[in-house]
């Protein structure tokens, strides 16, 4: 049995409606999907399961109150992105009707009809095999880009690299725009990101990288899912300041990633010295490539 997953799941049971707890007590799952009027669906190590529990509107209302601690205002910024983070770094995504502001931007959700609960867990040591290829002679990490499709394990791998680099004595700063790397709850990392790591939680990447450079004097900057022009400018700023950058990008392979002009620009200028490509071929975190990038101009 996966002890970590078991412990994490037990900690989440208290949020669920009373009658569900007994039935779901022994469940091992990465993901639980709850939809109004439909049966619960979970995804665990053994694959997907459809449960004999049908969620009602009252259940959804209970869960929203429990997950938000009856304080929707406290998660206003997160709800604009459609999720909130729980103690332990677990992620709750919501489906419902979007509320728009006068500029047409989402300012929240109402009439919530679906909930996706994703269990956060670190895979300590998942970067062990890769680390020697990622560090220079002084033990500092090369500028690194981790590429993988969704659910491919890139954030998990990045977290473990950050943890090991930090525990190795480097000052690491994580700019965690969507609270996925450190899983912060009320500003405190809920997942192990290393002894000497500072986290800027919920902070837009580009702005956060510049803030970190000015305020926290990091040796290594870590951020997730780069791709916008401002991200590239912030990364250049970090490189000019002599800071090592570890980042991730969505994509099945390097060709797909470099279709985005911003990332293509970074690759062509060989700003990333190491690339890791992951896939789901043999489960999340399957390493397809590690090494210096090879890209034709």
């Amino acid at each position: 049995m996966d002890k970590t997953l078991d412990t994490e799941w037990t900690s989440l049971l208290r949020f669920l409606p009373g009658p569900w707890r007994e039935q779901l007590r022994d469940l091992l799952c990465f993901e639980l999907r709850i939809r109004d009027g439909r049966p619960l669906q979970s995804v665990g190590p053994g694959g997907g399961i459809v449960h004999a529990i049908t969620a009602t509107s009252a259940d959804i209302k209970h869960l929203v109150a429990a997950f938000s601690q009856s304080s929707l205002y406290a998660f206003e910024e997160e709800l604009k992105q459609g999720y909130i983070t729980l103690p332990g770094g677990h992620r709750v995504g919501f489906a419902g009707k979007a509320l728009l502001d006068s500029e047409g931007k989402v300012r929240g959700l109402k009439d919530i009809s679906g909930i996706c609960l994703r269990v956060a867990r670190s895979v300590l040591g998942c970067a062990d095999r890769l680390l020697p290829a990622l560090l220079d002679q002084c033990g500092a990490p090369y500028h690194l880009l981790v590429v993988s499709p969704p659910q491919g394990g890139k954030t998990t791998l990045l977290r473990d690299i950050a943890r090991q680099v930090s525990d190795g004595g480097k000052r690491v700063c994580i700019v965690d725009e969507r609270s996925e790397i450190a899983g912060c709850y009320q500003g405190r990392p809920q997942l192990d990101v290393g002894m000497f790591t500072d986290v800027l939680d919920g902070c837009p990447k580009a702005q956060g990288m510049l803030m970190a450079l000015r305020a926290l004097s990091p040796e290594v900057l870590v951020t997730d899912e780069i791709g916008r022009t401002e991200d590239v400018l912030a990364i250049e700023e970090a490189l000019n300041a002599g800071v090592r950058v570890l980042a991730t990008a969505h994509g099945a392979n390097l060709q797909e990633v470099t279709k985005r002009p911003q990332i293509r620009d970074l690759m062509e200028r060989q700003l990333f010295q190491r690339i890791i490509i992951l896939s789901n071929r043999a489960g999340p975190g399957t390493v397809e490539f590690v090494g210096a990038p090879l890209i034709s101009r």
């Binding site: 109150a65 601690q69 009856s70 304080s71 205002y73 406290a74 300012r107």
Partner: protein, 174 residues
Amino acid sequence: MWSLVLSGACFGLILYASTMVGLIIAKSYRDRPRQLQSLRTGIEMLVTEIVYAATPLSVALENVSQSQAKPVAEFFALTGRGIAEFRPVRQSWATGLAYLQTSSALLWADLEALRLLGEVLGVSNREDQERHLLLACRRLEALYVNAVEEAARNERMWQFLGILIGVVVVIVIL
């Protein structure tokens, strides 16, 4: 001889009881403005906790309770504990109000002004929460002004009225 002592004791008891009743009523007139003031200060602190610090309700209520005196402190603490135990806000708020009803000098109208807040607390964004909290503050302020006037009119009167009623009862019996 014994009957004289017994009737003396009875009259003493009547005087003591009526004086105490008068003092208790006078105290409730004195306590009500103080408790309303404390509630208003608590709600104002809640505005800071919710609007500026975005602190989750259970923690915000616990923080507010630590800065107030009983019974208002206990009202906030009870409500906060209920929410922390995943009970609905409305239910936790009602538990807190039920405590105030039995342990404070507040009147039905005072509690009613608070009851409405329990319906909306935590369910909207900060801007909307601020609007409701400030509205509750304004209601409590109006009730406070009224309570101060009533205390000025009735507190001293009840301090004497208690003993006076006792004396009248004793005279009537005699």
